[in-house]
Symmetry: C2
Subunit: 246 residues, 2 copies
């Protein structure tokens, strides 16, 4: 099994994902929010690459069943029901709903990888179940770090490194690219105290300045949820097999 | 002093370099070749972003004083006098000459950063003198890793991390971005045996397959040369101050 890590979505184009298995990570906060929303009973999450498209898509769905969520540069978007804090996506609010999600980096990265044969969403919250599933699937895969405005992001790389480390424990025949090796090494150096790592990251500091310290705590917890968001027909749903931990 | 590392040239655009101090790294092999050529007496190196432009530029220079050098995907280009092996750029061949250099990643990265106020070229071969110069200059700077076809390259990141580590020894007031912190950490993990690191890197393996093991040995040596290539008016020359180790 070969594993590669793309440290920014901008290093490749949409068509390069065709036929591949891809794992998208945006720890702060889109992938954590998606995992939380689906765990808390959202029917599906529709990731979109523009605010305009979010508004357009939500207009076409039946009233009351759709919620617009997301952020642009950390701030909630005018007219949207929800921001990009996973804490907002509680069972009371999301159960049975379709969430249209636009975020600065994460939702765009998922849309970029839409031609993948298999597309999963990963955060620290669902690392274990996803690592087991990838080992069972036994296919080469790429981890796409959403990064921050095209730049490297520490937290996404550490999450990638931790996912690979979990897989290495389960499968010895793993072949790593340069970027995958780097991610594993960086997880060894920075991945012991995830909350501290998030607090000291560039993106974490901006979230702290904006009052989102509870988000950092929430997003730094490992294996809180036991589901895998799976992308199919432009929509993210819970991978059926994953709900019972298989 | 703030230091950032760009892990691939594609994460930003040309204009973002305007007014900045930039260090371009392409260990395998453009930056090593440039340092070697200038140390061995080449008058100047003209990095170009296309083969067509290389041919055009060389045609305009006076005969006999110009050498076309470079590679496309590791292979020498038809009609070019020299490839991209630093070992070809011996004093007998390059003294007094203008080298027009096209390479798959490095020369393009330099051209991309052309709007920088200060643009230096770095390899393992000239780390020490460049680190001293950057401390003396005392300006924020960005390290641009040339990478490989837009992707992450281990050797450029390790070189960036080693340069920052040298600077940290000389200046305690250094502020690092996420990518800069990652580079420093990766140098700690992979930078002890540079030849081994090069041999195990994706790009190093390709060069070994193509018979360039001597290049890996040559490019892995630290502080072989005591010069800083400096980009001005589209041409790389030896920074005058640097020739005497100041």
């Amino acid at each position: 099994m070969k594993i590669n890590v793309l440290l920014s979505p901008v290093v490749t184009d949409e068509l390069s994902f065709t036929g591949k298995t891809t794992v998208v990570i945006d720890v702060l906060r889109a992938s954590s929010t998606i995992v939380t929303a689906l765990s808390n009973g959202a029917r599906e999450v529709v990731p979109v690459a523009t605010v305009e498209f979010a508004v357009k898509v939500s207009g076409g769905m039946f009233g009351g069943q759709t919620l617009l969520g997301g952020e642009r540069n950390t701030k909630k978007i005018e007219g949207f029901a929800l921001g990009n804090s996973p804490l907002e996506y509680s069972p009371e609010i999301v159960t049975g709903k379709t969430i249209i999600l636009y975020t600065t980096n994460g939702s765009k990265a998922i849309v970029k990888a839409k031609f993948s044969e298999n597309l999963f969403v990963c955060s620290f919250m669902n690392l274990e179940i996803l690592s087991k599933h990838l080992v069972k699937l036994d296919k080469d895969f790429e981890i796409l770090c959403s990064g921050r405005n095209n730049y490297y992001s520490m937290e996404d790389t550490i999450c990638a490194g931790k996912l690979i480390t979990e897989i290495q424990k389960l499968n010895e025949r793993v072949e790593l690219s340069d970027a995958a090796k780097a991610s594993v090494s960086l997880n060894k150096s920075f991945g012991k105290n995830l909350l501290k790592m998030l607090e000291e990251s560039e993106h974490g500091k901006i979230l702290l300045e904006n009052g989102f310290e509870d988000d950092l705590k929430f997003c730094s917890k490992i294996n809180t949820y036991n589901i895998i968001p799976y992308f199919s027909a432009n929509v993210l749903k819970v991978l059926p097999d994953s709900q019972n931990g298989n």
